[in-house]
């Protein structure tokens, strides 16, 4: 191993295999690159663009719900068909084309090689192929909006016979393209998932035991395993659905012996593990950010790890709580109610660990820390309201009302939006070598958080008061047109517009700071994990000298060290056991 001398402020001087960086054609560098960092940025940019589309749909149909049948600024009249298409595509885009790519693929691709001390993903070409398959899938989805009949409008859960019969959904090619786009996206994430798991398991730096792996990597690996184990039936289900739609088969056609409830089971068998697949990476980012800005060791590394593995396993037993009143046998509902309420325990465990990490620490309210703390606060509301829906008795009233929407937006918003903002603001200096503008970040944070709460708190109450979801306009329901309900809906819609506009601040800050922001050092936050041990932005081969790991990533304020952080790859000064080469 190349000898490296300790320079003045404790950073090993960089020597070793710096291959000369020849300038490539921009296409090879940006679109055809096998460098995990470039592929991560490709996923990130695609995810953010899709978030714009999903967000715009949200603004439009939220406006239509508050001011029925009036033309929506920047869109025009919202017809029932375009309303259904927008809510369906909003759900599909936000889960499959924003949360999964940004949280799982963008950060997974960027962080796993850096955090385990490798120079790239184990299969670079497969990694590039997985992004390209994902790109094809998002192109197919966008294309499905413009085919005759328009985009698919039968809700993102695509229950047959509405999704199977084009005489019912009136979007003959739109519905098939939607199913094909989602199935191709699953293939992309199977390829990506295998890459994440194998890299995290095999390409770990010498000396990095399983307990030294940062939790962000662990969480993405558990999420990929869960995705791999749960997506199979839905791939088979989508093949059956496409055959039902186009080739006249009768898998889900009730008139000839098919069974629509079978699709619901296949969909939600994947659906519920899927929401934990996007939750775990966000928890992983929190496990990285909270200790750094509270300068304190994470409360329970093994507690967090075992309870997320527990959540992963339990998440396979709970799926039918989405179907309590949709035709399954009522006796089954009791089983799923019990497992659903019990799954709140490991998640409560994880929240206790995050809160306990803050105990007796020294919290520094930087923008990433603000996002991380707001994640904990908002996710508590989301997690807590889930129990109402998991308990079968209460779900009779709450199923498919705005209470359900408010619940899963209080979980999805912290996961997809707050989680990725936390990750982006925290790792931006490493990704682009420059700092984001701190003041702008704070303004964007406060406007987004306040407007988010103003969107969804009122809708909890409209949900209890009987507003059902996916209803085009409440003007047709006399009981729902009372002045208080109308006011609550208008507050929520205006807050959606405010939040939409506030995102301009983020995009401006993001793209402006990429070139004009303050230069960032290699380790601006004095963090321990390996990605801060290489220059920012890291060159092609990441580490000049491949690091060796000596300790866990959360050794902050260790009593017998004067500096309050202890990087993973810093050899212990004399005392402490020296880990032999290749220990695993």
């Amino acid at each position: 191993m190349a000898l490296h001398s300790i320079t003045a402020h404790g950073m090993p001087e960089l020597q070793g295999h710096h291959d000369v960086h020849h300038e490539e054609h921009w296409f090879l560098k940006y679109c055809w690159s096998t460098d995990h960092k470039m592929i991560a940025k490709q996923y990130l940019v695609t995810g953010l663009l899709m978030a714009l589309i999903g967000g715009f749909f949200a603004y439009v149909f939220r406006w239509q719900l508050a001011f029925p049948n009036q033309p929506v600024p920047f869109f025009g009249v919202v017809t029932p068909a375009s309303y259904n298409m927008m809510i369906t595509q909003h759900g599909t885009i936000m889960i499959f084309y924003v949360a999964m790519p940004v949280l799982l693929a963008a950060f997974g691709n960027y962080l796993i090689p850096l955090m385990v001390g490798a120079d790239d993903m184990v299969f670079p070409r497969l990694n590039r192929a997985s992004y390209q398959v994902f790109l094809i899938s998002s192109v197919i989805l966008i294309w499905s909006f413009f085919v005759p009949g328009g985009g698919f409008g039968g809700a993102w859960t695509a229950y047959p016979p509405l999704s199977a019969g084009s005489q019912y959904n009136l979007t003959p090619s739109g519905s098939t393209l939607w199913v094909v786009a989602v199935a191709v996206e699953f293939v992309a994430f199977l390829m990506g998932g295998i890459n994440f798991i194998v890299t995290a398991m095999n390409a770990r730096a010498p000396g990095m035991k399983f307990v030294d792996v940062p939790l962000a990597v662990w969480m993405i690996v558990i999420a990929s395993v869960m995705f791999m184990m749960s997506v199979g039936p839905l791939i088979a289900g989508s093949v059956m659905l496409v055959m039902d739609q186009n080739f006249g088969t009768h898998f889900f056609d009730p008139r000839t012996g098919g069974d629509p409830v079978l699709w619901q089971h296949l969909f939600w068998f994947f659906g519920h593990p899927e929401v934990y697949v996007v939750l775990l990476p966000a928890l992983g980012f929190l496990a990285e950010i909270l200790p750094v800005f509270s300068r304190k060791k994470l409360f329970g590394y093994r507690t967090l790890l075992y309870s997320s593995i527990g959540t992963a396993c339990l998440s396979f037993f709970v799926w039918a709580h989405h179907q309590f009143i949709s035709g399954i046998d009522p006796r089954m509902a009791n089983v799923f109610a019990a497992t659903t309420v019990l799954i709140s325990i490991p998640i409560a465990e994880i929240m206790f660990v995050f809160i306990a990490t803050l105990y007796r620490s020294s919290i520094q309210f930087t923008v990433p820390m603000l996002w991380a703390l707001s994640f904990v606060a908002e996710f508590l509301v989301g997690g807590v309201t889930g129990i109402f829906l998991g308990a079968s008795g209460a779900d009779i009233h709450f199923h498919d009302t705005y209470f359900v929407l408010a619940h899963f937006h209080y979980t999805f918003f912290p996961i997809a939006i707050i989680g990725s903002f936390a990750g982006l603001t925290y790792w931006f200096p490493k990704m682009f070598g420059r700092h984001l503008n701190e003041g702008l970040g704070r303004v964007h944070f406060w406007i987004t958080i306040i407007s988010f709460n103003f969107i969804w708190m009122p809708l909890f109450f409209t949900g209890i008061m009987g507003d059902h979801r996916r209803i085009y306009s409440f003007a047709n329901f006399p009981d729902l047109m009372t002045p208080d309900r109308i006011l609550l809906r208008e507050i929520s819609s205006v807050a959606t517009a405010v939040m939409g506009i506030a995102q301009v601040l983020f995009f401006a800050n993001f793209f402006w700071s990429m070139y004009k922001g303050r230069k960032a050092e290699d380790n601006p936050y004095n963090a321990n994990t390996l990605e801060w041990r290489c220059p920012s932005p890291p060159p092609h081969g990441n580490f000049a000298v491949m690091p060796t790991v000596y300790r866990s990533p959360y050794e902050y304020n260790h009593p017998d060290r004067e500096v309050d952080f202890w990087p993973q790859d810093e050899p212990p000064a004399g005392q402490g056991e020296l880990r032999p080469e290749g220990a695993h």
């Binding site: 509405l162 009522p330 019990a338 709140s344 409560a348 309050d564």
Partner: protein, 279 residues
């Protein structure tokens, strides 16, 4: 930079005073929350949910009770953890001279901190499961004997209701079939057979806390017993295509005289069902 924090004894960490104060404030906050919820439940607060949406069927009160029990338990944990969260945020903010602690592994106090909420959460979950399953069994699995049976057929973008007519038996000549307007007698157990002709629909009467999907190809039975007269909304609660938001229906809970009048005048011009204006 490595100034020594005064209270940082090298040996044991100063748990006791801090823990006691944080524990006390959390407990106090929790007691207040649980107290208010219990007050509402037992001091006539039964209609806490009913104030938002009327409870007009026999099992609506039971479902509201389940919601309130969950609200009480879950509210306690929510406010307790949020309270602890904000206390810790304020208390551990970065101040000059304040040095964070380093928690060694397997600290005894550390485990007590985590284990007692752990068991309490499990206990609360069991209570919630028992309450929820009891109500679910009572509403969805068993039904009191039927005073009258109706058939609800959902189809793309309209509801067809088949009333048994004067002989109170379905599929007889005197059945009354109406579109989007259901007439049921007050204070009687009404059983319904739910079917769908084409796609998934959902027969939901929010004020009755009644919701059941209509799965095409299946007949699903259910029951409700209206306890308050009046006209209420029926909503479709499962995406069924373009007209999903445009297929409202009305349920008319009628006193015996009104119901008799309805039966009688429907029998008179029973030749054609005749829809009503949709405005």
């Amino acid at each position: 930079m490595a100034e020594q924090h005064p209270s940082h004894e090298s040996g044991g960490i100063g748990w006791q005073p801090l823990a006691r104060s944080v524990f006390l404030t959390t407990f106090l906050g929790a007691v207040i929350v649980v107290g208010t919820v219990l007050f509402y439940i037992f001091a006539g607060g039964e209609d806490l949910i009913a104030r938002l949406i009327p409870a007009n069927s026999s099992f609506a009160g039971d479902i509201d009770f389940v919601i309130l029990v969950i609200a009480g338990i879950v509210g306690f944990w929510f406010f307790a953890s949020l309270f602890a969260f904000f206390v810790l945020l304020y208390q551990s903010r970065r101040r000059p001279g304040h040095k964070p602690e380093y928690l060694a592994k397997h600290d005894h106090q550390l485990h007590t901190w985590v284990s007692w909420p752990h068991w309490l959460v499990i206990a609360c979950d069991l209570i919630i499961i028992i309450v929820a399953v009891k109500v679910w069994h009572q509403v969805k699995q068993v039904a009191p004997p039927a005073d009258t049976v109706i058939r609800v057929v959902a189809q793309q973008w309209g509801w067809t209701f088949r009333h048994p007519g004067t002989d109170n038996k379905l599929d007889t000549v005197d059945d009354i079939v109406t579109i989007d307007r259901l007439h049921v007698p007050l204070d009687q157990v009404v059983h319904f057979e739910l079917q769908s002709k084409d796609v998934m629909h959902d027969f939901s009467v929010p004020v009755f806390r009644l919701k059941q999907d209509a799965v095409p190809g299946r007949t699903i039975k259910g029951w409700f017993k209206p306890v308050k007269a009046g006209a209420f909304d029926i909503q479709c609660a499962e995406m069924c295509g373009i007209g999903h938001g445009l297929m409202p229906a009305r349920i008319f809970v009628e006193t015996p005289e009104q119901h008799a009048a309805f039966l009688e005048d429907s029998a008179r011009n029973a030749s054609v069902p005749g829809g009503q204006s949709i405005y």
